[in-house]
């Protein structure tokens, strides 16, 4: 068991995925921390994000090799996809696991108690996506971090 993180800075918009945490058949990653902040010059604009379950990974712009918080840990099994996605992951309807409404000028952080994180099933191509559901301005990039235990 170790903690891992994936990061990305991606332009948001309506139903645009920022980051995905991709599970595998042999692990149940437990999402424990989400950090969101605007990485461009922030304006007085709002955006709404959601953590959602997906059953197909879509087509990511780039991958990200998960960073182990403890360098002595072995490599992680779960994977990370970074937007902008040319084909969005296939999200499960009504699977919003956490709603986050923020202003560009207000960075956000969520931390779960150990054992109370959002768990993805040990099923290939399944996982959790950090998705921008709506935004009053679609131009800025959102620098985001997902941290999980596996």
């Amino acid at each position: 068991m170790g903690m891992f993180a994936g990061v990305g800075a991606v332009v948001g918009g309506t139903d645009k995925t920022i980051l995905t945490l991709i599970s595998a058949a042999t692990v149940r990653p437990e999402l424990r921390e989400v950090v969101i902040g605007c990485s461009d010059t922030p304006a007085d604009q709002a955006a709404r994000f959601s953590i959602m379950r997906f059953t197909a990974v879509g087509t990511e712009a780039s991958g990200f090799t998960p960073t182990a918080w403890n360098p002595a840990d072995p490599a992680g099994i779960a994977d990370v996809g970074v937007g902008v996605f040319s084909a969005e992951p296939t999200y499960t309807a009504n699977s919003d696991m956490l709603w986050i409404a923020i202003n560009q000028r207000g960075p956000f952080r969520w931390i779960a108690q150990p054992g109370r994180g959002i768990i993805a099933p040990a099923t290939a191509s399944n996982g959790l996506g950090l998705r921008c559901k709506s935004a009053t301005s679609v131009t800025p990039s959102w620098a985001c971090t997902l941290a999980w235990e596996e």
Binding site: M97, L98, W99, G106, A112, Q113
Partner: protein, 78 residues
């Protein structure tokens, strides 16, 4: 009640902190807003809060069990 999670957000230069609770049946978290009027629940078997969705309120199916069923292909949606 012990919170299941914690949020901190900076708005107008001031940090706003809030707790989150987790549904024992579906695993979702929500930010606790006292006086919001949102109707939630409590499972006496799981001894924990419920999100208030009909599926979670009508049957006790702990999230761990739901995960097992999904991974075994016995339910289609997690």
């Amino acid at each position: 009640m012990r919170p299941d999670g914690y949020t901190i957000q900076e708005t107008g230069g001031k940090p706003i902190e809030a707790d989150t609770l987790q549904c024992r049946h579906c695993g979702r978290h929500w930010i606790v807003k006292p006086g919001s009027g949102a109707k939630r629940g409590w499972c006496l078997k799981c001894s924990g809060p419920l999100c208030g969705r009909r599926d979670c309120m009508t049957e006790c199916l702990p999230f761990e069990k739901r995960l097992e069923l999904y991974e075994n292909g016995e339910i289609a949606v997690l």
